[in-house]
């Protein structure tokens, strides 16, 4: 039927243009770019240089910590920060702004689905956090000689699950908040406790046992504990991996099911 051909649509025609345009617009926002991409590196370099003793090898702790410089514990924390900054703040804020400003509604009247815009921002966010994480590890490695992970596979698996579970949290915020200010408020409300449980202020073995017990059931706490295990001991962090998988399995479908398109 030639008449139907008029209305036939691919749903994502124009997606490459959309992704390219949104990437340019994303990069134009200097504040977001700094916070999302550069902040984790600044964190690890700043702590390493500013706090005395960070670069002195530990002499008074048992294996596996003996001989490791304390700044090394900030390797996993920096990776977790890279994921959390983008998943909890920039991504939900962008999506909520699109909803608030009527951009999603406007797209609904064109052959491009509004889902395409959310997808484009997931791609941009993933790209940005990979750059942020890579930058932090490389610069940290050069500046402070971070140790090579005992098990790169466990670190990588932990990182992937960290991304999935944290984007689960971010996506639920993005799905449900009507306004950008609300999205930012919820994001920040969760961001700092998450960083606390990730060990921002008590990294690696410094975290008190009681806090660590709670932290391993939060997505970001489980992520740094799992990455610590992979990085410094090579043990399989079974509980932490299951915790992150469980958060992902619950939050991502919830976000998808309850996403408000207008």
């Amino acid at each position: 039927m030639s008449t139907m051909a008029l209305g036939t649509r691919t749903g994502l025609r124009g997606f490459p243009t959309l992704l390219g345009t949104e990437t340019r617009l994303w990069l134009r926002d200097a504040g977001t770019v700094f916070y999302a991409v550069v902040f984790p590196t600044v964190l690890i370099v700043g702590l390493g240089l500013a706090i005395p003793g960070m670069r002195e090898p530990i002499t008074d702790a048992p294996e596996p910590w003996l001989g490791i410089t304390p700044i090394a514990f900030y390797g996993p924390v920096a990776l977790a920060t890279a994921v959390a900054s983008i998943a909890l703040t920039t991504f939900p804020s962008y999506v909520a702004t699109f909803r608030e400003k009527g951009v999603l509604r406007r797209l609904s009247t064109t052959p491009m689905r509004p889902q395409g815009l959310v997808l484009a921002h997931l791609v941009i966010s993933l790209g940005a956090l990979l750059v942020a994480a890579g930058l932090a590890v490389v610069v940290g490695g050069i500046a402070f000689g971070l140790p090579v992970p005992a098990s790169a596979g466990i670190v990588l698996l932990s990182f992937v699950l960290c991304v999935l579970s944290m984007f689960g949290v971010g996506a639920v915020i993005a799905a449900l908040t009507p306004r950008a200010t609300t999205a930012n408020a919820f994001g920040m409300l969760i961001y700092f406790p998450m960083l606390f449980f990730a060990g921002m202020w008590t990294p690696g073995p410094v975290m008190p046992e009681g806090v660590a017990e709670v932290a391993r059931f939060t997505p970001l706490g489980a992520a740094t504990q799992a990455m610590n295990a992979g990085w410094f001991t090579g043990d399989v962090p079974g509980l932490q991996l299951v915790v992150m998988a469980a958060w992902s399995a619950v939050l991502l479908p919830v976000a998808s099911r309850y996403f408000r398109w207008s």
């Binding site: 039927m1 008449t3 139907m4 008029l6 209305g7 036939t8 649509r9 749903g11 025609r13 124009g14 490459p16 243009t17 959309l18 345009t21 949104e22 340019r24 617009l25 134009r28 926002d29 400003k101 009527g102 951009v103 509604r105 406007r106 609904s108 009247t109 064109t110 052959p111 491009m112 207008s262």
Partner: protein
Amino acid sequence: MTSPAPATGALSETATGPVVEVRTLRKSYPGPRGAGRKVAVEDVSFSVAPGEIFGILGPNGAGKTTTVECLAGLRTADAGQVRILGTDPQQHPEAIKDVVGVQLQEAELSPRITVREAMRLFASFYEDPADPDELLALLDLVAQRDVRFSRLSGGQKQRLSIALALVGRPRVAILDELTTGLDPAARRATWDLIERVRDSGVTILLVTHFMDEAERLCDRLVIIDHGRVVAEGTPAELIEQVDAERTVVLRLAAEDVTRAVAALDGLPEVSGVAAAGRRVEVTGSRRVLFAVVQALAAHDVVPDDVATTARTLEDVFVHHTGRPYEEPAADAITKGARS
């Protein structure tokens, strides 16, 4: 006004059938916090012929935007039928999006996107888009090509919004309150533009709360009030229907006023005489002008000025609803029933 509905669900290629058909449309929204549902559209029917500029006119909250949102496939109606080019946008929202261009109220773009980027982006969504540069020239936006959305003036944003609605070469363009917030010169320029777009073969559905805009621009229109159609026709037809009563305004020499009022009051054609200073307003039947002139001539009163007041769509609204049409300030539009 009703035409037979096309039998198929496919986009109709015929040039004669209605482009847009709405029949007994009804749409309500849930009230806040479980309160009773608010009916936005009670009962709306109309049909739009190819190549028309068709107006949906009514005060704020009348149900205009809800009606076109159902047409654009953004909302699902509770009851009634909606067809665009023979296709039901409720059932096949994806089928109409290549051929219907929509300009929404309160829809913004990313603040950092430039005019040129926005045009390229929206053009990429369509199968056979118009040339973005040509459209920008038509909409007088060439000089703003590299300006970011956040730095555009209200009029420039509005023109860009229209350009984006047209970039997919639509056969139907739905324009919602397109001149709200524009200064008078920009409004007139926009009206000329809409006529040029119509002349290029696009059927236009124009939503407006401005009486003068509807009167100036629309080939036909419906007036909607409280979710119902209260009148339908060409602006001239609608005005003629309520034009039973005429008004003549006289300006007289001060010493003639009392004499003239006495002469005019009580004439069979005259239903009312009101004097204010030297100004005398006489209302009456269709022949009131003749009666006034003859009576003044008989009393040798020579008026300085005689004017008949023109009827407008505002009188049509008053006639059908029994209350005055209050046009809100253009920058103080409040939206009801928005989720």
